[in-house]
Subunit: 395 residues, 2 copies
């Protein structure tokens, strides 16, 4: 038994955490582009990273130093520090050394980056920005704003958790997403803070388990970036812990941020849950659900609010999972349009299904009818604005 | 030694072949939507079909009857006859029986369809259309036009082939493509005719081999349809055959049509060859090349004529093939922008690479530098018109 109560404060909601975001001149003008999260108590740290073979320099820096404890993460937007080789890591070392010299007490600081690939970091701008940080600031809104790239709004959540025996702790998080979001966790950064006394060795498995049905279940465009990162900082300041409550809270935090990211996909106007059931296995359900959330033809049909169930069927068939025309059932919201060989798509049903599709959020349910495997993937539509944003992102 | 000479006549260029296309009222108005190809001599027939699990009724009809010899194929646009169950096959039987009754001499006629999924064929319209066919017509242009869906122009080619010992024969073909084109041969129909005396047992392997580097190497949107078909009709009327010359001619015909299809991808303005070399194996080169031709971020960068090499690198890294920042080389046309760890992307290089990207057709070359595997995939850009066409295709 546990309760989760939504609270304000984002990454600063847990005790002992500080954060801010400033304009360091990376985006230009007054736009915030450099953020930090700091804990006044040394944290256990765990992270999961992109599966892209060209992992960006900040990820390789984290791994090179085998970071397990830290009290500071520096995050910049506008430059991914990817494909920058050893020089990219040297740049991070120089920036973080400068930060440590400026702010005594930083322990094993780490860095995270998002933005354009293949350009060296503007080291001096970032160093000068770090000089301006006030580590006693509790400004989570500014931090969440600074890490945005093509996001249209900052993304943060926090919960107060009460578990067994009155164990009471907090968990907070911020994320950025928007483009290059893929089932395999694409350019998204997510930073989770907690004052729960979570055992260090439990942290990474908990992240991995929560990611499977949250960040790894969402897709904006099927591309997997060089920089994807989910980091968890736990400073144990509450002295409290309840494994079930913490696991549920972590999943809740990541689920809410994942849905925000997919709803705010580049040019997206809808968030759709693709619920696949009756598959031969959970793994096959996942393949089919992700094929649907990734399909360009499905995504453009969503944009056109067209209940084109033939594209749904075709995409499932193309995904290679076990399926049969005679056992498949396709439902938009609660409107079944194809039921085990029977096409139920008359004018009235089409009108009802089209009405479902005009909603901002809804489910497309596909029962494959061949087993008990299930998975839900989350996707968005693809409209003109996706093209506009991505045809001209770099310049 | 052989020579291939481009000639007029499409599917009617080989001796003994007839074709026409008429308006049967499927598209509405005067638009041609029903075509046939007929041979006055019984043909050996081979076909390769979509890998989609929900193969359309015409494909299942072909397989049900184990067709190996035929002299007639009927092709309709606007309706895919997919997800229509046994009734879909019954409709084909009824239509083809009617055609046989109307045109004595049709032997094992087959059918092929493209269009919307999940709607029964308008059987009477197609039967009435068949009644109007004149099987002595040589009107390949009308046939190629009738099978179009969102294609912007009819696609046909023909060659006169002179091989060893003066073996002289012809090969012709027509195709439709445009949407749902994928490395795994998506909604595209292609019909190849030849008067070469090709051995029946050689036909399917030759089709499969030619498809690997042609129709299976192109991508418009990564979706694989329920209806994809390549059919080869050989009536041996020339009495001549040269295996090498025929194999080369078949590959040439399919390569030219494949490039037409990708250049005419829905909303496409460019045709780009993604040449991957230096991969650990040909199979890995194919994975990387197809990942590039399928990537939304790469496709939108092409549309924006933005030499965003970071997206090229990121996509290769995300594809999971063996690669290393220190051995990768990326070249736009002849302009190398990244060379084994060195970023060569200064203002001058960027301007040169951008100039390459403004061309209608060009190559993006990626040398992975880890082996000798190679593959070239062909893709197109993704612009506003793709969204426009696909957000509103069905209605």
């Amino acid at each position: 038994m546990y309760t989760l109560t939504s609270i304000e404060g984002g990454v600063c909601a847990p005790e002992g955490f500080f954060a801010d975001g400033i304009a360091a001149g990376l985006k230009g003008g007054e736009s915030k582009d450099l953020a930090f999260i700091h804990s006044d108590t040394l944290c256990d740290v765990a992270a999961i990273f992109t599966t892209n073979r060209f992992q960006a320099a900040p990820i390789r820096h984290f791994q090179k130093h085998g970071i397990t404890r830290s009290n500071f993460v520096l995050i910049n937007a506008k430059n991914a520090n990817a494909m920058t080789g050893e020089k990219g890591i040297d740049d991070i070392e120089a920036i973080l050394s400068h930060a440590q010299a400026t702010h005594p007490g930083l322990s094993s600081p780490v860095m995270s980056s998002t933005g354009v690939i293949g350009v060296r970091l503007p080291k001096e701008k970032i160093q000068k920005g770090c000089e301006r940080f006030d580590l006693s600031m509790r400004n989570p809104d500014a931090a969440a704003e600074a890490i945005m790239t093509t996001d249209s709004y900052p993304k943060q959540v926090a919960f107060e958790v009460v578990g067994e025996n009155g164990a009471r702790f907090r968990i907070g998080a911020m994320a950025k997403g928007a483009g290059m979001i893929d089932p395999a966790m694409a350019t998204m950064l997510c930073f989770v803070t907690t004052d729960a006394a979570v055992p260090a060795e439990a942290m990474k498995p908990l992240l991995q388990e929560a990611a499977r049905t949250t960040f790894n279940a969402i897709s904006v465009d099927g591309d997997t970036s060089t920089n994807d990162t989910v980091m968890l900082f736990a400073n144990s300041r509450s002295g409290a812990y309840d494994p079930d409550a913490f696991a549920a809270a972590l999943k809740k935090v990541m689920h809410e941020l994942a849905l925000m990211i997919v709803s705010d996909g580049e040019g997206a106007t809808k968030c759709v849950a693709f619920e696949v059931t009756g598959a031969a296995s959970d793994a096959e359900a996942e393949i089919a659900a992700k094929a649907l959330s990734d399909s360009l033809l499905v995504k453009t049909a969503l944009f056109g609010e067209d209940p084109n169930w033939g594209r749904i069927a075709s995409t499932i068939g193309a995904s290679g999972v076990t399926c049969d025309e005679k056992s498949l059932r396709i439902t938009f919201g609660n409107i079944t349009v194809y039921d085990r060989g029977e096409i139920l798509f008359d004018a009235e049903t089409e009108a009802k299904a089209a009405k479902v599709m005009r909603k901002k959020a809804f489910a497309i349910r596909c029962d494959l009818g061949v087993g008990t495997g299930a998975f839900t993937a989350y996707g968005c539509d693809l409209g003109y604005d996706y093209v506009k944003i991505n045809a001209d992102y770099r310049t």
